[in-house]
């Protein structure tokens, strides 16, 4: 094979790989594209046949409907979604924060004092089974301690069921901290708290961001616990969406999509903001250097 042919072959290969990945990306983004378009469609185009790909008369009524709960064009009124939205922000952020702080201590002691495997496995246990298997005893337990339909009840559950990942992921990052750093810090007479706070924390900052995003996603998108443990007291945005969905089945494509987009935007923005860290962070401690 001549040199020229080799180069030609190489270029052809490069172009086909690029085409392939862009094809994958476009087809993977299709559901998202469809939801965005539907959220701007007026009522007449929601279920028209054939479906319109790009709305003929774009409108923001759907957004007004899900935010304020009332739009002149729609006969039905719906409760405003501002409260469920704020509930989700509050519960998700607080529980992510608690899970990270508690997980940081847990992971630190597991790494620092070289805990055995059984301890590690016992920590990840809450993630192993479907939450639905736990919900009935949990409801009875929560009734006894008066935690049903309260913010703190939901926060405890969210913290408990994301903590395993918090510990696991953070431990993965902490394993890569060189031993010499810790030894030097100990020689300088730093306490355990100071080692964690001054030496380790700056070193695993990226890992901390990755973990925080993952936990925030899990907490933000949680549905099963919110549905069963707090559907009357603390409405979350996922719950509000499901309610919108079942109230007028088949008749509210537009508002559903609008609320869906509003519900997804904060995590998407946060994720895109820190995507650089995500690229090397998701190893769950399975990677030893």
């Amino acid at each position: 094979m001549s040199y020229k042919k080799l180069i030609q072959k190489n270029i052809a290969k490069k172009i086909s790989i690029n085409l392939f990945i862009y094809l994958i990306t476009v087809s993977l983004l299709f559901p998202l594209f469809w939801m965005i378009m539907t959220s701007f469609k007026p009522r007449a185009e929601w279920a028209s046949l054939p479906p319109t790909w790009i709305p003929n008369e774009p409108t923001i009524d759907n957004y007004r409907f899900v935010i304020f709960g009332k739009v002149e064009q729609y006969t039905k009124t719906h409760s405003s979604n501002i409260i469920p939205y704020l509930n989700t922000v509050f519960v998700a952020v607080i529980s992510t924060f608690i899970a990270i702080v508690v997980g940081l201590f847990g992971a630190y002691s597991l790494t620092r004092f070289k805990a055995g495997l059984s301890k590690l496995i016992s920590i990840i246990m809450p993630r192993m089974f479907p939450p639905m298997a736990m919900i009935i005893p949990m409801m009875i337990f929560f009734q006894v301690i008066h935690a049903i339909d309260t913010y703190w009840g939901l926060i405890i559950v969210y913290v408990g069921f994301t903590l395993p990942y918090s510990v696991f992921m953070l431990k993965g990052f902490m394993d890569s901290v060189p031993k010499e750093f810790t030894e030097a810090a100990m020689l300088d007479g730093l306490s355990e708290w100071q080692i964690l706070y001054k030496v380790w924390l700056p070193l695993i900052k990226n890992g901390l961001m990755t973990t925080a995003l993952f936990l925030l996603i899990l907490n933000w998108t949680e549905y099963a616990f919110a549905l069963t443990l707090s559907s009357r007291g603390v409405q979350t945005v996922t719950l509000a969406l499901a309610k919108l969905f079942s109230n007028e089945a088949g008749a509210s494509y537009g508002p559903q999509s609008a609320l869906g987009i509003l519900a997804a935007i904060p995590t998407i923005i946060f994720g895109i903001f820190i995507h650089k860290y995500l690229a090397y962070g998701f190893t769950f401690g399975a990677l030893k250097k």
Binding site: Y22, P31, P130, P137, F141, G271, K288
Partner: protein, 282 residues
């Protein structure tokens, strides 16, 4: 400093687990005005009944089948995209964040997405109709077998970024020099993948499998939104079955027996799996 972690996990796992064992051994019906500690013990009746229940066994098999299919598709997409993106691609910096967007979308919203595109008047029917050049009308979500397609696809769509990210992190940690060396002796792409990358990715593939398996067995949100387990019980998964029988029929004791069987199976399986992955290195 491990104390807070242990306390929270103890609080949320041990207490309900003891409760679930207790509940599964008694005959407790919330409709009758009787507290659960006053109900009488019937020992193993619930266990025998639920294991004879075809709906439960089918839901269990169906959940495992859905998980395996989802995992297979996710790994194919994840590995493909991860290997392409770790090479040289035009506009990599833009592609990367775009490709992981689905992970950040709540599964309820994902359910809504797939409900829209698979609706009878939706774009999927239109596209298939265009290709076949006929009027193609299928009510995907009302068909007992076809309804599984949107369910599997929505699960795959939501979670493929996670496998992609895990595999990408793994690939990024393989040193370039080894691959260069192999290229110089004339190894082709497949040989490089098979002999160099795959052995190094083993641990990471295993952890990705276990974590995804743990998550996909929980599949509930999309089912609740898309089909409600229907038509009939044809798309009912484990979580949905537990939810339906426990909350709508309020057969608390009966469902506790099922829950305990599931807890037992998953804890044993996943503990062994994790022990296998992390135990080897020491």
């Amino acid at each position: 400093m491990l104390l807070p972690t242990n306390v929270i996990i103890l609080f949320l796992v041990v207490v309900p687990t003891i409760l679930v064992i207790w509940l599964s051994l008694i005959d407790f019906q919330p409709n009758i005005q009787l507290n659960f500690w006053q109900s009488k013990f019937i020992i193993f009746r619930n266990y025998i009944d639920i294991l004879k229940d075809k709906e439960f066994v089918y839901a269990l098999i169906r959940t495992i089948a859905i998980s395996i299919v989802c995992l297979g598709i996710e790994f194919t997409i994840g590995l493909l995209v991860a290997s392409i993106l770790s090479g040289e691609v035009f506009g990599k910096k833009v592609l990367f964040p775009i490709l992981i967007i689905p992970l950040m979308i709540p599964s309820i919203v994902v359910g809504n997405n797939f409900w829209l595109i698979f609706s009878t008047n939706g774009p999927i029917n239109q596209i298939i109709g265009k290709i076949l050049n006929t009027q193609f009308v299928v009510s995907w979500l009302l068909h007992p077998q076809l309804a599984l397609i949107p369910i599997v696809l929505s699960e795959v769509w939501r979670w493929y970024p996670l496998t992609f990210l895990i595999l990408f992190s793994g690939l990024a940690n393989i040193s370039v020099s080894e691959i260069r060396a192999a290229q110089i002796i004339g190894a082709n792409e497949w040989q490089i993948f098979r002999r160099i990358k795959l052995p190094k990715l083993k641990g990471i593939i295993a952890i990705a499998l276990v974590i995804r398996m743990m998550e996909s067995l929980k599949i509930f949100d999309t089912i609740h939104l898309l089909t409600r387990g229907g038509p009939g019980t044809s798309t009912q998964t484990l979580s949905y079955y537990l939810f339906k029988v426990g909350f709508q029929y309020s057969r608390v004791s009966y469902i506790s027996a099922g829950a305990w069987i599931i807890l037992f199976i998953s804890i044993i399986t996943f503990s062994f799996a994790l022990r296998g992955i992390f135990g080897k290195e020491k």
